[in-house]
Every structure is written in structure tokens, then in C-alpha cells.
């Protein structure tokens, strides 16, 4: 006669589930504006006409070419990667709050760039496979001097937690 909550629930999987919840008595409060962090639309950079843009070669960690692409002066490496579907993550969407867009640059090109700020360096501390020529892709803006640069994606970690090895942080 009585259907258990579990059975009722599983039945609901076949139709649109309706969630019902009881709201406690909420104390009245004045309307407030909601803060939201700025959504950065990587709606795509403008692709320059072939042959006119700054050429970037994306390599995997083994040195194999993934794709050669072209972008404009001022585009950042993360935005370029996303435009061309390169597998470079940007969890915090360019706000220097993570290290997932970590890339490795060739030394000569690395030296041309302005020094990373403290906040970028703080995030780089935690990047997996950090090198002396590592940068956060979202902070590297392209210039003509970087034409032809090879950008290397770091090796993806093969399950850091195998064999009980714990991450240092």
C-alpha cells in the first residue's frame, strides 16, 4: 500500500522529475544586488586572414605538433587555444585563480615577455610539470615578436594518486 520513497523516486526517473521542497520561514530581508564575477566570453577571437596573423605552433608534451594556428596581436594564448579547439583548460577563465592554462615556452621567446606578476607566479607555484620557462597561457599576450613561437602543453598527470603517492598540496 505504501510506496517507499526510493520506488517513487525511481518511477520519477521515467518522467520529468519535479523537485518539491519545503521552505522554512524566511526572515524578510531587503532586496540586494547580486555580485557576480565578470563572465569572460571566449566567444572566440577573430581569426586573421591566413598568412597575415601571428603564427603559433601548439605542441604536446612529447614535442609532437598538435596544430599550427594564427592569431592577432593582443590575443592571449588561452583564448587562441580555445578558438582552435586545442585541449588547454582554463578553469578560472583567465582570472589568475588557477594553474590549468599552464604552458611551456621556448627560452628565447620567454625572455621577450614582461616578467610575471606576483599573482601569476603564485599560481605557477602549483602548476604540474613546472619549468623555468612556464607561463599561464591567459597572461601571455601575443606580439609580432612571438611569431612562429612553439607553445608546449605540459604532460597531463597520470593519476597523481596511484600507489598512495600524495600530492604535495
Amino acid at each position: 500500500m505504501f510506496t517507499t520513497p526510493a520506488r517513487l523516486f525511481l518511477r520519477s526517473l521515467r518522467t520529468t522529475p519535479r523537485t518539491a521542497f519545503r521552505t522554512a520561514n524566511l526572515a524578510p530581508c531587503a532586496r540586494r544586488t547580486m555580485h557576480s564575477s565578470m563572465v569572460r566570453y571566449h566567444a572566440g577571437i577573430e581569426r586573421p586572414a591566413p598568412g597575415t596573423g601571428i603564427k603559433i605552433h601548439f605542441n604536446d608534451s612529447k614535442g609532437t605538433l598538435i596544430k599550427t594556428v594564427e592569431a592577432n596581436e593582443g590575443d592571449d594564448i588561452l583564448a587562441v587555444a580555445h578558438e582552435y579547439d586545442i585541449d588547454l583548460e582554463g578553469a578560472c577563465e583567465g582570472s589568475v585563480a588557477c594553474s590549468t592554462c599552464h604552458v611551456i615556452l621556448p627560452e628565447d621567446k620567454y625572455d621577450l615577455l614582461p616578467e610575471p606578476e606576483d599573482d601569476e607566479n603564485d599560481m605557477l607555484d602549483m602548476a604540474f610539470g613546472l619549468t623555468d620557462t612556464s607561463r599561464l597561457g591567459c597572461q601571455v599576450k601575443l606580439t609580432k615578436a612571438l611569431d612562429g613561437m612553439v607553445v608546449t602543453l605540459p604532460a597531463a598527470t597520470r593519476n597523481m594518486f596511484v600507489d598512495g603517492k600524495k600530492a604535495s598540496h
Partner: protein, 413 residues
């Protein structure tokens, strides 16, 4: 493939997101996420401090994954036979999951705070987690700490959660007002009389688990200053190579806080090489608590803190323990020795040592409560790859149901 993910936090959504990318677009798979809470995103919603909104940008990717009609999220569902810590959750036995899905991922995190043997919970000693749940308004709805009756707070632990709590206590409420801090939380913070926050760690700056970003935020606090550290605390041992982060931590600590100590009404300190030995709560003789601290050194052979025999006592008004987290001991496949689920190469392993087929662990549930979002993401991607490889190995056919180990281990035995 019909995948159930127990847990709807970042690890769950990253597994789902990666599966969308790796599985054939034309495949009619299902990914169902279940969470005890009615809203998803786990620690991103109820753990990340409100003044760190950029960290929460990752939810845009989670929302994208959820747009795929093959994914569904079921909130307010408690999977398992153990009573839910929350009222009103719908109960769903694990056996139902195993009989209705071809693959299962446990992404249940590490939800319980580690306790200190010398610091039992009391009115004078609470967990940092209860403060985090308070200022993020977690449905557990803990009461706010009595901030209008305190002037000295002792935080036990040198991790980022400890620094988050310290920062929330030492930041001017008008600054916090700009962020998504709930009105009732701001009201309590506005009445706070906290003057000093002491951050106590049993080892030194080189062993501290906090990271540069959070440390720098403390150093740069506009309305507080740090007690300068004795130079000998900032000397690395002879011949021991330092990581890049350790070097930068020492440099930052030796520079000291942006505000010179003594020029601000509020202050904080990093009290290294101190381990709680006991807490005397207020009595008729003493209106304040007395925190007893054992002095320690780090044994170079074991890297562990060892007492020197010396002790001291600190008068304090509230002790907040921030010592990390562990999984629920009654959860299936929990290993009490590890403090989290037993896994091997992403697969769940039973008490008897059997590796289960099509049953996986992801994120903190599988690895313990370590790692920022980036680490959890990489782990989740690895789990997704394992699932896809397993699925493809069977020619894309999943006749094999997940095999529930009859012995789910844990404290039930």
C-alpha cells in the same frame, strides 16, 4: 552506457564534462549525478570563500556539461543506507544504483572535519568547517560563532582553510559587502570584536600546507598586521633543497605584512612549532579559555613534529580547529586507515582486496582531502579516460553491470 555519479561537486562535473568530450557524439549514453544537497557544485558552492568569486568561474563549464540532455542532476537525494546528516533528503539505496546503472562513480568528497584528540568540541572549540558552512550558508545551517564576545581566536592548522577563516575575520565588513556574503553573515561580522587571530601549526613554514596566493592575501590585509617572525624561523636547514614555493614563502614571510605590526587595530600571527596539548574552558576562576601548547621541532628523519618538553599557555576566547577532512567511516568501500575510499588506478577496491568492475572513485573521495581544483580536475579527467577505455573494451556494450562487492567494508565489519 548509463553512469551514476554519487556526488555533484567539481569532481563529478569534471568527470561528466570530460566524458561528453571523449564519448562519441552519437552515443545515447546517460550520466546521472546525485547529491544530498538540493543544489550542485559541492565545495565550489559551500567551501570556496565568498571573497574568491573567480574560483567559482569553473561552474560555467559545469553548466555547459549540464546543458547536454543526456546529463541529469538529482539533488536532495541521499544514496546509501546510512542516515542522512540532512533532514528531508530522499533515501536511495545503493543496491538500486547498482541494479539500474552500468557504471558508478563515487565522487563523495571528504565531508567530515578531522578532530584533535586534545581538543574535544565545546562552546570554546569549534571546527573551521562549521565556520565555512556558516559563511557560505550551507544547508547544515550551523549557528554563527559569538564574534561579538571574542577578542582572541586561535586557529589550529596551517592550511588554506585556516587562512580563509582568518581572512574572513580580519577583513573589514564593508569590503566583504561587495561579494556574495549573505546579509545575516555580514550582520554578525559587523558586530565582531575580534582583535587578534593566532594561526597555530605544529611544524614550520616549510611544512605549512597553505599556498602563496592565500598567504599573500593575509600579508596584504588592509586592516591588519602580522606579528613579525623571528629570523631563525625563516632559515632553511643546511643542504636541504627547497621547492620554488617554499623559497617564495620564506621570502614573503621575511618581508612581513604590508602594514607594519602595531599600526593596525587588528593583528594576526603565525605561531609555528606549537601543538595543542589541552584546553581549559572558562570557569569561575578564569573568564577566558587557556590553550596549552607543546613546543615542537621537526625530526629531519621522519619530517614529523616531535615535542621538546617545553610548554606554554595562551589565553584565548575561541579555538577553531582546521586540520583537514576525511570521508564518512560508514560509507561503502571506506578504508579507515586511509580516511577515504579504497581505490587503485581509479577503481574501487573492496575490503577483501577485490577490484570492482565499472565502479570508480574520483576526487577527494578517492585520494583524500588534498588538492586544489586543478588537481581534482586532472584526477577526474583520468577517471573519465578509464571509464571510456573500459566501455570501449567491451565493444561499447555494457552487459556487465557494476559488481557490488558484497563486502562494502568500513566500520560495518
Amino acid at each position: 552506457m548509463k553512469l551514476a555519479i554519487i556526488g555533484g561537486g567539481p569532481s563529478a562535473f569534471y568527470v561528466a564534462s570530460r566524458l561528453h568530450k571523449l564519448l562519441p557524439q552519437t552515443l545515447d549514453y546517460r550520466i546521472h549525478l546525485f547529491d544530498r544537497l538540493w543544489s550542485p557544485h559541492g565545495l565550489v558552492r559551500y567551501g570556496v570563500a565568498p571573497d574568491h568569486p573567480e574560483v567559482k568561474n569553473c561552474t560555467h563549464k559545469f553548466d555547459e556539461a549540464a546543458l547536454d540532455r543526456r546529463l541529469r542532476f538529482f539533488g536532495n537525494v541521499n544514496v546509501g543506507d546510512n542516515p542522512s546528516p540532512l533532514q528531508h533528503t530522499v533515501k536511495l539505496p545503493l543496491s538500486s544504483i547498482f541494479s539500474n546503472y552500468s557504471h558508478v562513480v563515487f565522487a563523495t568528497g571528504c565531508t567530515l572535519p578531522k578532530r584533535h584528540s586534545e581538543l574535544p568540541p565545546s562552546a570554546s572549540c569549534i571546527s573551521a568547517l562549521s565556520m565555512v558552512h556558516w559563511y557560505t550558508q550551507h544547508p547544515n545551517a550551523p549557528s554563527p560563532p559569538p564574534l561579538d564576545k571574542l577578542s582572541h581566536v586561535s586557529l589550529i592548522g596551517n592550511g588554506n582553510v585556516s587562512l580563509d577563516v582568518a581572512r574572513m575575520l580580519l577583513t573589514n565588513v564593508d569590503v566583504l559587502r561587495k561579494y556574495d556574503v549573505p546579509e545575516r553573515v555580514l550582520d554578525v561580522l559587523a558586530e565582531s570584536t575580534v582583535k587578534h587571530v593566532s594561526i597555530v601549526g605544529r611544524r614550520g613554514p616549510l611544512e605549512a600546507a597553505f599556498t602563496m596566493k592565500e598567504l599573500r592575501e593575509m600579508i596584504n590585509l588592509p586592516d591588519a598586521s602580522m606579528v613579525p617572525l623571528a629570523p631563525e624561523l625563516l632559515q632553511p636547514s643546511e643542504g636541504v633543497p627547497l621547492t620554488r614555493q617554499q623559497t617564495r614563502v620564506l621570502q614573503l614571510l621575511s618581508k612581513g605584512s604590508k602594514n607594519t605590526f602595531g599600526t593596525t587595530a587588528k593583528t594576526w600571527s603565525l605561531d609555528f612549532y606549537r601543538s595543542p596539548a589541552g584546553l581549559m574552558v572558562p570557569s569561575s576562576e578564569n573568564t577566558r579559555s587557556q590553550l596549552s601548547l607543546a613546543h615542537t621541532v621537526v625530526d629531519p628523519a621522519t619530517q614529523r613534529a616531535v615535542p621538546t618538553g617545553e610548554t606554554s599557555t595562551v589565553a584565548t576566547d575561541l579555538v577553531v580547529t582546521s586540520l583537514g577532512f576525511h570521508g564518512e567511516p560508514t560509507a561503502p568501500y571506506f578504508d579507515p586507515g586511509l580516511g577515504h575510499l579504497r581505490t587503485l588506478s581509479n577503481r574501487i577496491v573492496t575490503n577483501a582486496g577485490t577490484t570492482l568492475r565499472n565502479v570508480y572513485g574520483s576526487g577527494w573521495a578517492s585520494a583524500g582531502a588534498h588538492g586544489v581544483l586543478a588537481a581534482t580536475m586532472m584526477n577526474a579527467y583520468d577517471v573519465a579516460e578509464t571509464i571510456v577505455n573500459d566501455h570501449m573494451k567491451h565493444g561499447g556494450r555494457d552487459e556487465s553491470r557494476p559488481v557490488a562487492g558484497g563486502d562494502t567494508g568500513g566500520a560495518q565489519n
